[in-house]
């Protein structure tokens, strides 16, 4: 797919849920659709997923903040869209329901960010100017340099970075961004010759003998 086609496809996310870009989208009510059925499920698994889909974990305000944060972590660039365009907030919402131990660190982390904003600037994170938002993010985005006082924020941001990167790169958009070539039938005949040459490696002759 060409880049302009990719950009055209951006409003369709991996889960078939319509999530439009960033702040604007988060203010809209999420569109409820019949949840997709994962292939090869046992009846118990189908039942469990149904239950999870029916629940809501994050509040509208939390979803808004989450959406802003994941787009700071993975913004759109010349090659692919942003995290929210890839449906990452909806993915994180699902994971919080799927793995309940995520709930308190995620909710608490969002609250921590808001407290930090109020502490530094007197208003909540969503009310900050872009530069002020990044001031807070810069405090917590570099674990090796972060101050002792913001360690809870660092732990949260590491977790959110993990979920955002995983959520983004496990979508069609992510596959294209990565230029992933696998997951299709093929005939494996070893590392391409030009790659072998680049690394100065070669195959053992035994592989030709065994053919």
């Amino acid at each position: 797919m060409k880049r302009r086609d990719t950009l055209k496809a951006l409003s369709l996310t991996s889960l078939g849920l319509a999530v439009a870009p960033t702040d604007v989208a988060a203010q809209k009510k999420p569109v409820k659709k019949e949840p997709p059925v994962t292939p090869g499920r046992t009846p118990e698994e189908v039942e469990r997923d149904k239950k999870l889909y029916a629940q809501t974990f994050f509040t509208a305000a939390e979803m808004q903040l989450l959406t802003v944060l994941v787009d700071i972590i993975l913004p759109a660039d010349g090659r692919s869209g942003s995290a929210s365009q890839a449906g990452v907030p909806a993915f994180i919402e699902f994971m919080a329901k799927d793995i309940p131990s995520y709930q308190t660190p995620l909710r608490g982390g969002l609250n921590w960010i808001d407290h930090r904003a109020k502490h530094l600037f007197g208003v909540g994170f969503m009310a900050l100017k872009p530069a002020q938002r990044l001031e807070i993010i810069d405090e917590i985005a570099y674990p090796e340099e972060a101050a002792e006082a913001v360690k809870p924020g660092v732990a949260f941001f590491n977790r959110l970075r993990d979920l955002t990167v995983t959520g983004f790169y496990t979508t069609e958009m992510g596959f294209k961004d990565l230029d992933y070539r696998g997951n299709q039938p093929n005939a494996w005949d070893g590392v391409p010759q030009e790659v072998l040459d680049k690394y100065g490696l070669k195959n053992d002759p035994l592989y030709d003998a065994e053919k």
């Binding site: 469990r48 994971m95 799927d98 990167v165 496990t170 696998g182 494996w188 680049k198």
Partner: protein, 581 residues
């Protein structure tokens, strides 16, 4: 082909087989082909990897809302195996201060549906560790007893590999091996500098077709999802379904066996009782012989739960040995970031499901402070992203320069982070050691006197502790991994596991190679079965999973289960012909 939901009480089967994994599947296939009327009882549901309702192969991560995370299946949403270490309504416990994790797959084909297809024969030494080292016990049979059956299994099921002529890694009848991936070539080169050999792996995928019923591998790297082409070995596709096609095998699914019945006078097995897990009613099947293949722990559980006046300690348990000598492979691993694998050219390197090369045990334990060896499995490459992809980037992206030659700050966010993901994709490798443990009488499972599962069947209680040999072996694994990582110019991830974690030694049961609970031997006072896996005291009772094995080498026991089950099946056919069954 016959799939029953209830047994026909008028039928007495020639053989009842409990379990449909590697051991049960092989016995069903051999006995049904020989003309015996066989009834296979499987505790879980029907499964066929080619039936669209079960197919997860070639699906994309976004087809799972959790992107394949391991929330409901231990190896993720797309893994073929149902069940896991924890199954609702089927509890077990470990005695205080000990632990054991019991993995069960309740489905046709059992745990062959997700296994790594790593298929190594035991070598001659693996049958005689007791006499060689003074630690542990010898088997009642040797390599020569199983060698013809290994040959037959190689030909029936198919595996790839290379003839290496290594004394304790006997060669088989091999299909051509797949060429190494880039990181595997680099590992081989680096391991060479560290004097660690790396050879083509030996795995049960068809790199060439071997018959009309199974296709050749198309290199999606997803064997653990089940193969629509039957190009890898699963007991369902390669043994059970073909056995049913003979017309001689009846399969009863959702049949949780609780007891083997015996005749009060003769002491012979007469059939089994099971609970239908759907209607929870108790049913009984009659048979002239009973073959247990329910998995090491489950087979011992059934025997221990089969008490009678003749067998007050459990069926065939005059020796009291059933449940004892439980042992799982050791396992320890380490990952590394390999900077020279950054900025890779993109191409499909999925290959077969798993490693194309491995390291067989290469040292002499007589010169080491632990008694048994291990092999090393390697992974890495440009794998399909799924849940967990790209996590822990902050551990990696502070270790290299950006394209302008500036040192990067670990962590971060923004467009540069996408660049990091693209640049480091395929640059992390993992090494996993899998080693032979010392079987100990003090590691065992037994019936919990106070508990039952949801079907009313008494449950297992485990007692398992690693010994010094296993812990020192894990330490050696970690040192070896670091040597290879160093030779690759890699950066080992996370702190090196130390004594506080037994050097990263996996918890017992986590490697899912447990064996030994119904051991075979020549002495009926010390073993439950003879060398044909026939009960010393009940001549029409056999066990053909890994429960009979005296030890497990470092060899991933499935191929030996298949060979030994085939040998036992031939023995049963022979007894029948001689009218001795």
């Amino acid at each position: 082909m016959s799939v029953l939901h209830q047994p026909d009480p008028t039928i007495e089967y020639d053989v009842i087989i409990v379990g449909s994994g590697a051991g049960g599947g092989m016995a069903a296939y051999q006995l049904a082909k020989a003309g015996a009327k066989v009834c296979v009882l499987e505790a879980g549901g029907y499964y066929d990897p080619a039936d669209p309702q079960y197919i997860t192969q070639l699906k994309n991560p976004w087809e799972s809302p959790r992107r394949g995370a391991a929330t409901s299946r231990p190896f993720g949403d797309f893994d073929a195996a149902w069940g896991g270490w924890d199954i609702e309504g089927e509890p077990y416990e470990a005695k205080s201060g000990t632990e054991f994790r019991w993995f069960r797959s309740r489905m046709l084909g059992g745990r062959t549906n997700h296994w790594g297809r790593i298929s190594m024969r035991f070598g001659p030494d693996d049958f005689r560790r007791g006499s060689m080292t003074g630690i542990g016990d010898d088997w009642p049979i040797g390599y020569n007893d199983l060698a013809p059956y290994y040959d037959k299994v190689d030909q029936l099921i198919g595996l790839f590999g290379t003839k290496e002529g290594l004394p304790n890694e006997p060669d088989g009848i091999f299909l051509p091996p797949p060429k190494p991936r880039l990181h595997e070539l680099m590992i081989k080169k680096a391991a060479g500098f560290a004097n660690v050999p790396v050879i083509p792996s030996r795995m049960a995928m068809l790199t060439k077709p071997i018959n009309d019923t199974r296709g050749a591998c198309f290199y999606c790297g997803q064997c653990n999802r089940g193969c629509v082409a039957y190009a890898d070995f699963s007991s369902s596709s390669v043994l059970c379904i073909p056995a049913m096609k003979t017309g001689n095998m009846t399969l009863i699914n959702n049949a949780m066996v609780r007891e083997v019945h015996t005749d009060a006078k003769t002491g012979l097995a007469t059939g089994v009782s099971y609970i239908n897990t759907r209607d929870r009613q108790d049913y009984r099947v009659r048979g002239k012989a009973v073959v247990l293949a329910a998995s090491a722990c489950e087979s011992s559980r059934i025997l221990l739960n089969s008490k009678s006046s003749r067998f007050p300690n459990g069926l065939a348990n005059d020796s009291g040995v059933i449940g004892k000598y439980l042992n799982d492979s050791t396992g320890a691993s380490r990952s590394a970031f390999i900077p020279s694998l950054m900025d890779r050219d993109r191409y499909n390197e999925d290959g077969v499901g798993g490693m194309h090369v491995y390291t067989p045990w290469w040292l002499d334990n007589a010169k080491l402070d632990f008694a048994r060896g291990y092999h090393i499995e390697y992974s890495g490459g440009m794998k399909m992203p799924s849940f967990g992809f790209g996590t822990g980037l902050e551990r990696i992206n502070g270790t290299y320069m950006d394209p302008q030659g500036n040192k990067k700050r670990a962590g971060g966010y923004g467009a540069g982070l996408k660049e990091d993901v693209r640049r480091t994709y395929g640059a992390v490798i993992n090494m996993a050691g899998r080693g032979e443990p010392i079987p100990l009488e003090s590691n065992y499972c037994e019936i919990d006197p106070n508990k039952v599962d949801q079907y009313g069947i008494p449950t297992l209680r485990f007692h398992y502790k690693w010994g010094e040999h296993e812990i020192k072996q894990a330490k050696h694994m970690q040192d070896t991994f670091e040597k290879i990582i160093h030779e690759m110019g890699g950066i080992a991830l996370g702190p090196k596991p130390d004594a506080s974690t037994n050097y990263g030694l996996a918890r017992p049961g986590e490697i899912i190679h447990e064996i030994g609970t119904v051991r075979m031997g020549n002495d009926p006072r010390k073993s439950a079965l003879n060398g044909y896996q026939q009960a010393h005291s009940v001549k029409n009772l056999f066990v053909v999973d890994a429960a009979p094995f005296v030890s497990q080498g470092d060899k991933n026991v499935t191929w030996t289960i298949l060979a030994s089950s085939w040998r036992t099946s031939d023995y049963i056919i022979d007894l029948k012909k001689r009218n001795e069954l």
